[in-house]
Symmetry: D3
Subunit: 292 residues, 6 copies
């Protein structure tokens, strides 16, 4: 498994000497990792992709970081809706979510995607615990817009249950369903939840794994990926459409997280093996880093 | 809401004097409550039934008991399978569970029934946390029988995550899905899980709520309900068919729990308002109590 | 022992549902209960009255409240003075207390009444510990008036010894003798001590048990008992004599306690069986409640 | 206050060098000190004797020892019985104690002698707490002999309340009244209680202060005081009458305490100023030391 | 070992009664004791002097004080420099310290004098731990004057390592070598270190042991020793030369320590047996006490 | 500082994935590192070698390991003896150590080499604390052989002071001087101390840094270095002289350490940059590993 670099001890030593201070720096720090539903649905080998992601999360924890996983599940929800013959209307790219659709979405997010991620991690030991936003009232929400039905807007985050699980050495895996005071559930954008959760936890890092390698000046040009950007500059790219489409909520989550005190947010290509490790533990990175 | 009894202070005082020692006795004790899927599916007003159940669980916790809820969801699973046009084969009354059926069952148990119970409790505050048996490897399982597919048999229970949540004042709500060492999930009978969990937690009580008022000598005669029975006597009733059908796994769960150290198990009619409170806090009971 | 109410489970359940939230609310709260010397001396069956009172105190503690008992002993002091042929002069209804009278009073309060209450509670277990105000300098006092001799006025309360005993699960029983910096003892009105102690302990409740059923608008009319009154209104009733005689210091203790932060004070008829339980754990009460 | 020894620093240094290791040795150790009622009643200046005793107890505690005071009160009881015209019958030197006598004895022990000792100590600060054997069921007793009425025999000691008060830096002062399971009180010999309490506390020392300077070979010859004696030798002196009269129970308490694990017991003349300090903190002693 | 004073128990008792409150007062307090290199080098029997000093330090600790020893080693350094034929230049009485001289000084202070003091104390048990100012960066220093080479000036004291060792019941013994941020070592005046360390530790006492009996109004007249002096008065004596020569840095260390919050500083003749004990535990002293 | 390996993220990731489990495995483990006096004396740039060693020790601690440094100082002792014109006799390769030689050795080890290592580490922060075996009686010793004078043999190790410093996040640096019960010091072989200390601390690793790259089958052939060897095989190499000379005590220390429970011992070439990191955190090693 080890490459030719092993034949040069000086190179190995250099990498260790570079990595160890980062490990020390982040030990005890919360790192919120957003893992997209596309990563599972769109991968050639979803099981292998999930297992590799689980490996990295377990490695992070093994050296003292406190990872929190947040996930979505759009493709998987669409698939079950399709099987049940339920058709959705879309407004501004958001699925109008009636009661039946919400029930399907919740079952998929909490009872399928979340469970699969927890299972993949727990092959390594009793480490992960699945949560949704209704557990211990983690996420309070109301309707984002009256026309969208049960698409949720975060009104409050109470991260107590997360911090307690972290204190016990556990890895929370969060499905992004919330509820209002009467117990009515809402489905919420996972990027938005990841950003808000990172802020409320005082996380050192927010890492958003998607299927692109960061923000590009020219979306069509892989060599135009931006290594480092401020929140203000990122806002501008969202405004002018450079960071548009599915990248927009990711960009906004990163910008608002760093403004709320998260030291840095990272947009990485989750398809690169061990992208999280490379980003956290080496001087150079593999995606776009957002700073205040 | 208060009945005429309030006009007689001596009666009220007598009830308090009777109840307070029970409250003291059970304070700090774990009580595992099995809440059947039928209670939701079969009730005239499922929302009210669920809210009333949630009230009782919150009251138990408020006076110092440590309730753990275990639930099934058979009718709800059947309903979604029906909508998807999936037909199941049954052997000895058990549904043969292939991979697709298992995925549906898990979505319903974890993503629907569990979430609904957690939501109902959390209207009272950030109290409940939903779990399935894969969280922190709570329930390890393998196949109950090769012909039944992913119907599970409990091989190990690690109640650490439950005891930690209890220690933090939280109410665990457990969906009865487990997994093997490779992460393969199984669907497990909820009565069996409740009994095994009560045993591994050293619970003071196992309370099984169903839609009958306990074990009857003559199933057709409501007046033949048995108030108190030993585990051995109960085994005999299972063997001779008096406690047959759906009552059999409930009876066996009770018998094995008390043999494993649980002080008493109770089979109650969950449709009686506040049945759990009456059973725990008064001298007389409202169902069948099983003792070693 | 249980009344006919038992035949109506719904009534019992209603009482439990009503009582449990109070139990939760008061768990961990300090409740100062003033038990008058008259209750022992004037009862038809003093031993039974004392035993019943002890039962209630033990029940309060068993469900997590922290009861503190304060008592007087006027009739018992008078009885021993009589046997020794010591005659007392009275001014404004207060006994002029010379050194010999003080010694007799202290022996009766600390060596007789206090010991009897402690004994009655400790039949239930090693629960009660008798204290006087000189123990750990709980109550500092000086002379109330130069003409009254060793009748004391509270100058300082140091509740440390009380809070420590409470923290160990014990029930302090306090005889109302204090001392000045030189060790000179004083006999102090027990109602006044109960009020001051409740204030310094941050008690949730002050309960004053006497032989009337609360404050009456017309002292001769039992049906004129006031259910709820503010401290200011109560002051007015003392001023105009409606709450006069022995009721005046009780009323003043209640008023000053609630002004000092005690949530509520209650004047109850200690002759009603379990009056304390009914007052604390039901919606309606059995005496007069004083609020700020 | 300081004698001429002060003019010789070498002498002072020698005394300090001798005393410091004893202080270290006994720091954290329980020392039970029996203070006889005679010391108060028979002294020329009872107030000064009590104050001097209190000084020593406070000094012991100030250097880390854990003193427990046990006291009697025979002369004081006799005095009040006399004033009330109650005559007692004696059998084998023990007062036959009927219910009325017991009530008087308890009032005097708990309400007078105990309170006076507590007061004298607490002039130095909130240090002493008075207890009788009924507090937290410290001393369980039954009748010593059917002919003697309520003269008690110790059946059980539960020193929990003592150890808790000691752990809080407090000085327990114990009046030797106990009770049976029904709450019936008994008056118990104070020397016996002191010995039993020292044993149950695992005390390092039992110090019995009386009005003689130890055990003498010839009771009439002050120069025949025995410096050191074993429990067995002491038994022989009791048997042959050399240690007779009031000395017998003191001797037996010392012998049984050292047999039960107390490292040493001391019989001292409480009239010698600071006798306790001299005995504990210097190489030579001022009375009789009893060893196993 | 004990003088004739033992024949007068009243004298012994008086000394104990005088000493015990001081022991109580200083228990838990830090006492910094400066032990001069002259005490070892100039004593007739250096081994006995060191053993006696160690005895006193162990006795202080045994009764709950927290002694910290600071030492110099001028004569011992001079001796090794002499053997190596290294000659030093002096300016204003201070040795110009080049790199070679510093290395010799450090070896003598840390590897000889410090080790000998630690060894002498540890004959009594595992009590002392040797430190120099570089351990855990206890003393940060820079050059006192460019002409003096590596003679150090204290820039910062971080007493963490001292307080931790004290918390574990250990006796720190400090050699007065410090270092700058780059690790360059400096030799620092031991009186100055003792004063600064006492201040930063919030010590109750600074005790400077030398070979004179305190500050004298007339240096030639032993009877002119000043018993008590304020920091301001002491400054004046330094200014006018009365406290000159080697006494000046001692006087300044005492003055600055009491100004920085140390309750009192003492200049004692270390040759008087047990001088520290006599000074700390008796009303009169054996040297000069400096107060703010 | 980073080599070309950085241009291949997959290689970097592979090294991290390989290293992280080791970091997890050794976090919280004690690693005893023997640093030879030759490393300082024989290096071309002693300051750089010491700084590089200090870097590695600080990095180990930064990722949660608990390093303990043990050092010798033979060349440095020889150098000072030479300057002082002291000639030593040798027997079996060991220097006969009289009192004067011992004093020189102690000054060099404790006051020079130890201080230099502590200084080099503490440039990174207040991390290291120098100790010798006399501190808190860490190492008890007696004479190894009557002909060798004060060459010591370890009789007892009390690692309490080491474990306490480790628990406070500090790095103990140990000079290998011990003492007997009377305080007589001895100079002890540093390899032997390192092995015994590793055993008594229950260390996970003993790392012996010297100027060869491990044990060779043919001492003259660098390519014959043995990667892995058992304690028994190593004994044989010592016996037949393959591991002779200065390698013998190192080999014996490793063999006895692993026999006493240390998981593995490593003989490394301390001149290879970051040899300790490469050995601990990669699959392949850079020297000889000794296992039980």
């Amino acid at each position: 498994m080890i490459s030719d670099a092993r034949s040069h001890p000086a190179d190995v030593a250099a990498i260790l000497v570079e990595a160890l201070p980062y490990i020390r720096e982040f030990a005890g720090s919360v790192v919120v990792v957003k893992f997209g539903g596309n990563a599972l649905a769109g991968s050639e080998d979803p099981d292998a992709a999930l297992a590799s992601f689980a490996d990295d999360i377990v490695l992070l924890r093994s050296v003292g970081l406190l990872p929190v996983v947040v996930h979505g599940g759009g493709p998987q929800i669409a698939e079950l809706l399709g099987r049940l013959g339920i058709r959705s209307e879309f407004r501004d790219g958001l699925r109008v979510t009636d009661a039946e659709t919400l029930e399907i979405a919740r079952m998929v997010l909490v009872g399928k995607v979340n469970s699969e991620i927890v299972s993949a991690i727990n092959v390594h030991g009793p480490l992960a615990v699945g949560l949704s936003g209704i557990d211990a009232n983690l996420i309070r929400a109301d309707a984002l817009h009256e026309d969208l039905g049960f698409v949720g807007n975060i009104t409050d985050i109470d991260p107590t249950i997360i911090t307690r699980l972290l204190a016990q050495g556990l890895i929370p895996v969060v499905a992004t369903v919330g509820a209002d005071l009467l117990g009515q559930a809402y489905n919420i954008n996972a990027d938005t939840v990841a950003g808000a959760l990172a802020a409320s936890l005082g996380a050192a890092k927010l890492v958003v794994l998607s299927d692109v390698d960061g923000i590009r000046r020219d979306p069509a040009d892989a060599s135009s990926t931006i290594a480092k950007i401020t929140a203000d500059q990122l806002d501008e790219l969202v405004r002018n459409g450079t960071a548009g489409g599915g990248m927009a909520p990711k960009a906004q989550a990163c910008a608002s997280a760093v403004r709320a005190g998260v030291a840095a947010a990272h947009l990485l290509d989750g398809r690169v093996a061990h992208a999280v490790l490379l980003e956290l533990f080496t001087d150079s990175g593999v995606g776009t880093m957002v700073t205040p």
